[in-house]
């Protein structure tokens, strides 16, 4: 307990940084649920493809172990754009291949759920077997660097060293902590604005509220679904970049645990609620760190899930309640 109080700020700030990444991934779950009442279990793979895009961009530019700050920033901006494009693309592909055919036929939600789980495995294994896939296509020679160690961890070739910026309590807040938290908040803010203010955002909320009325009012629901998946993918791409800055290593199944955590964060905050995803992610990240400090690191997941159960007991719809359609706009 003494340890917890002595290192309260350090535990809280690193928890917030971790929670920011959960929150960004949670957005993808929450938006798709809000609009389609469907849990997109393949979203963790959307995130994982983003992390690999970051690594590949670094490979592509031949980044070494040490990069000047300027070139590192350039690389990170480039890799974030690529990660957003790739994650957004994978999300759109998911919508097209795994969902739209089912939604068109009005199949039960459960079928779409199974389709999502299947898509998740297919995407993860495609990444884990990328060397074989390249082999089939005869590209192994040209892509060696990108497909090597397909089932192993791949790390950024460049070491990103966090520099201390300023002190809160006795903890030196680093550039990486600040970057991750600020970037996540900015993205959240932008997305929130988009959903609340833009024409397409209004369409999303309309479909979430009542798909058939929205269609009667001239909202193109297919378009809305696409935008929903795309936005979730873009956020996952940003999350992937921040994750690689913080952790720096990924592998073909890296999405799984993070996906579970992000989904938990979404439920914690109230699934279907954008601001809820933010709150849920941050609360979960901090709770994990506090739990680790008070009870023990091996209990951190137990703490997180007990917290989830307790919150759902008192607020069955999550901290901020379920609402995308019923948005106060």
């Amino acid at each position: 307990m003494q340890f917890f109080f002595d290192h309260f700020f350090e535990l809280t700030i690193t928890g917030l940084a971790l929670g920011s990444i959960y929150a960004l991934v949670a957005l993808g779950y929450t938006m798709v649920y809000g609009v389609l009442q469907l849990i997109n279990f393949a979203h963790s793979e959307v995130f994982m493809y983003g992390t690999f895009s970051v690594v590949w961009v670094f490979y592509l530019f031949g980044a070494g172990a040490d990069q000047s700050t300027g070139s590192l920033i350039g690389l990170l901006v480039a890799s974030m754009i690529v990660a957003m494009v790739v994650s957004g693309g994978v999300a759109l592909l998911l919508e097209r291949v795994a969902y739209r055919p089912l939604l068109k036929k009005n199949s039960p939600k459960l079928v779409a759920l199974i389709s999502a789980i299947g898509a998740s495995f297919a995407l993860a294994e495609a990444m884990g077997l990328r060397d074989r896939i390249a082999g089939f296509l005869g590209l192994e020679g040209t892509l060696t660097k990108y497909v090597a160690g397909a089932r192993d961890n791949r790390s950024l070739p460049t070491t990103i060293t966090p520099d201390p910026l300023f002190k809160i309590g006795d903890y030196n807040v680093t550039t990486v902590d600040l970057l991750v938290i600020v970037m996540a908040l900015l993205m959240m803010f932008a997305l929130d604005r988009f959903v609340r203010r833009s024409r397409l955002g209004r369409g999303m909320r309309a479909v979430a509220q009542d798909p058939s009325s929205a269609a009667l009012m001239g909202v193109n629901s297919t378009r809305v679904y696409q935008v929903t998946f795309l936005l979730g993918g873009l956020m996952a791409g940003v999350a992937a970049t921040l994750y690689m800055i913080r952790i720096g290593t990924t592998r073909f199944d890296a999405g799984f645990i993070l996906g579970v955590k992000a989904f938990t964060a979404a439920v914690l905050g109230g699934i279907g609620n954008l601001r809820g995803a933010l709150v849920g992610g941050l609360v979960l990240g901090v709770a994990e760190n506090w739990g680790s400090a008070i009870i023990g690191t091996e209990w951190k997941d137990v703490v997180a899930f007990v917290l989830l159960v307790v919150i759902l007991l008192f607020r069955p719809t999550g901290l901020l309640g379920e609402s995308l359609g019923k948005a106060r706009a």
Binding site: L18, E140, T174
Partner: protein, 388 residues
């Protein structure tokens, strides 16, 4: 020297993939090191024979298996050059390191009557699953890497391993932290796996009062924030991590990023270029990795590169060579049945590449040597010292 780089690892992994394509359907692969018609003029003592490699050539753990396969190939090539009249063939059985896949594969090995000895199984899990079958068939196995202490307590007459088990590694690791690194305060972390917890508990017990704190993380965890805070707060000047390279690398990286300056020490589970890959060269630098595995000598490295073009020996390559050499010596002395070869291995007592090769009645190697490696400035894992 114990040289290994990430690019070598990439090549090995790529090779694993291409090899895997060829053998995924049948799970076994004949490596033609002998022409089949060479038995016409066999001498009275030595008859052509087949030995098997049993372990992963594809899958998550392929790197270790391929290191051993490479070592076996060096030994077989050498033997065949010296015995042109009785060439030995190797058959590789790819278990992917998975105990479930290993069981039916062991039956295949046992039913292949041409096989009189096995190098492997590579891992403890698959050794445990297949041990009874090999024992019943009387087929001698020499593992170059299975280190679970319990494996030799089952009364399998056929099981042998040529390196110290986990129970011998922890006292040596504790000694290294105390005597070589002169640690005053040590922190012990494990990953809750059977291997990691076992070895970390052993180290903590032997370090005794030096231990200022312990923590447990999880396999596949990537963010070690609270653990890093605990280690820093404890004022420890050395950390023992019991677990595997993926988490070890990330923990080392996050510790250095947080400004911790002590020694990062881990065991054979982390003794892999993957550790440096995950940590980055800067954070991995000067990390210490203990291992019951020996370092490759320059001559062995040269032989290895000749037998396996474009590849360098890695963890357990030298042990693979030694394991195969024991079997090959027996074949060279005219042992051509499974029972003869088993008796021969039980009585074996010759100097090998890594140590004096001799087994006790349970199949443990008589002489155990634990080495400490360190990560040098270039990110290579090089031999530091033998722990005495």
């Amino acid at each position: 020297m114990f040289r290994s780089t990430t690019s070598r690892r990439a090549i090995v992994a790529l090779f694993a993939a291409t090899a895997g394509l060829g053998l995924s359907s049948c799970g076994s692969d004949d490596k033609d090191t002998a022409s089949s018609g060479s038995d016409t003029s066999s001498s009275a003592e030595c008859k052509p024979a087949t030995i098997a490699f049993f372990g992963p050539k594809t899958g998550d753990a392929a790197n270790l298996g391929l290191n051993i396969v490479g070592g076996v190939k060096v030994a077989v090539d050498k033997f065949n050059a010296e015995h042109p009249d009785c060439k030995v063939t190797t058959k590789d059985f790819d278990s992917q390191g998975d105990p479930e896949k290993a069981t039916p594969l062991a039956a295949q090995v046992i039913n292949d009557k041409s096989i009189i000895g096995v190098v492997g199984p590579t891992f403890s899990g698959e050794s445990d699953a297949t041990g009874p079958a090999f024992a019943e068939a009387g087929l001698v196995t020499v593992s170059s890497s299975a280190t679970n202490p319990d494996l030799t307590t089952n009364g399998w007459k056929t099981f042998h391993r040529i390196l110290g088990n986990d129970a011998t590694q922890s006292p040596a690791a504790a000694k290294y932290i105390k005597d070589n690194l002169k640690s005053k305060k040590a922190f012990v972390v494990d990953d809750a796996s059977e291997y990691g917890k076992g070895i970390a508990d052993g180290v903590a017990k032997d370090l005794g009062d030096l231990v200022v704190g312990t923590d447990t993380v999880q396999v596949k965890q990537t963010d070690f924030g609270p653990t890093v805070t605990k280690i820093k707060a404890s004022g420890a000047d050395a950390l023992w991590y019991g677990g595997y390279y993926a988490e070890a690398g990330l923990l080392a990286k996050q510790l250095r990023a947080a400004g911790w300056k002590g020694y990062f020490v881990s065991g054979d589970g982390s003794n892999d270029p993957g550790f440096v890959e995950a940590a980055g060269k800067a954070a991995a630098k000067d990390a210490r990795l203990t291992c019951p595995c020996g370092a490759a000598t320059p001559e062995f490295t040269a032989d290895y590169e000749k037998a396996n073009p474009g590849k360098k020996p890695g963890t357990y390559s030298a042990e693979g060579f030694d394991a195969a050499t024991i079997l090959l010596d027996g074949i060279g002395e005219g042992k051509s049945t499974r029972s003869d070869l088993l008796d021969y291995v039980n009585a074996y007592d010759k100097p090998g590449l890594t140590k004096q090769l001799k087994f006790d009645d349970k199949g443990e190697v008589a002489e155990v040597v634990i080495y400490a490696f360190k990560v040098d400035d270039a990110g290579e894992i090089v031999l530091d010292t033998e722990i005495k």
